[in-house]
């Protein structure tokens, strides 16, 4: 994404690339367009440079010995990805085994039965906790939702396991009417 911070090298490379792609201005002349003195100086330099040669161009023994290697580099490089992949697999396998030993199991019921020591209580099978009984303020109804009970001062509604009591505003100031 363009919003992500970029590496400084990437930014510099992009800048260098953009700079290289700028059209070249033409302040500099070709050699043929330079004045005669400049052309003579450059021509003398070029001729002098071409006339130079090293004392010897025979390959030293070091160069010949350097290439006398039996195994080409390309073959060795082909094994590098395979070796790297094997190393990653071994590391991941080790980490997985270590995690299996150190971390507690997620589900107790998934553990296999193990022998208990003398006097130890037998394992209690895990059972789901019983659903709390609904308050006995209204008789059970067959429908899953709807009005369960209607009283003088409250209304009981049910939707699945959820029950709701709506207390009505008292219509009289008699304190006996308030529950």
């Amino acid at each position: 994404m363009s919003d992500e911070p970029r590496e400084p090298d990437d930014a510099l490379d992009a800048l260098a690339r953009a700079f290289r792609e700028l059209p070249a201005p033409a302040p500099a002349r070709e050699l043929q367009a330079e004045d005669e003195g400049t052309r003579r100086a450059v021509a003398w330099m070029a001729a002098a440079w071409q006339a130079q040669s090293p004392a010897s161009s025979a390959p030293p023994a070091e160069v010949l010995a350097r290439r006398a290697r039996p195994a080409p580099l390309r073959v060795q490089r082909a094994w590098r990805p395979l070796a790297a992949a094997a190393a990653v697999l071994v590391l991941l396998g080790g980490a997985w085994m270590l995690a299996g030993r150190v971390l507690p199991p997620r589900e107790a019921t998934s553990l296999p039965a193990v022998a208990q020591g003398p006097g130890a209580e037998p394992p209690v099978p895990a059972v789901a906790p019983p659903e709390p009984a609904p308050p006995h303020i209204a008789p059970p109804v067959a429908s899953a939702s709807g009005v369960v009970a209607v009283a003088e001062d409250h209304l009981e509604l049910r939707s699945g396991p959820v029950r709701m009591l709506l207390f009505l505003k008292p219509t009289t100031s008699n304190p006996e009417n308030v529950r």
Partner: protein
Amino acid sequence: MTLNPAADQAGIVALRPALLAGDAAAIDAWYRAEHPQVWRLCLGLLADATEADDLAQDAMLKLLDNLDRWDPRRPWAGWRNTVVLNLGRDRLRRRATRATHEGAADGAALFSRPLPSPQDAAHAAEVRAALTAALSGLTPREREAFVLVDLSGLPAAEAAEAMDVAEASVRSLLTLARRRLRTLLAAHVPVGTP
């Protein structure tokens, strides 16, 4: 000896398999053909013949050792020049901590009289001294541009690629280098020099 990029390219492509296989005869032939050109590049970049000997050998070793990285579809001269340029820059960085080399010191005496013809074998030492002294008067980047374009005959665009700068920069560096050389040499170069 003039550079012939087309011949270099065909020759190195033909020799490449044997060079990669470590064929001593192929290495010998390649080294003898390539070394003078590499050495001249080193001389131009360093402006010092003794250092050029050393650098050219390092460059030849590096070229040979990394030959499998060169794509034969790409110009050989460009790849070679880039390798030599990078090595030359490393050498110049190390040299920067040392004293000024011999070339610049002799410049004043060399340019107080007319320069001999470059083809005059009797004055070969004087020609080399004047050449290295004149190159020493350029900045390293000016030398790179001047050696690649005006001495080697590379197009400015290819020189820019090897130097990893814009083509406009190469042209500017060339202009500066030519001006300096004109100031230094024009009065001493015999009229009629090609």
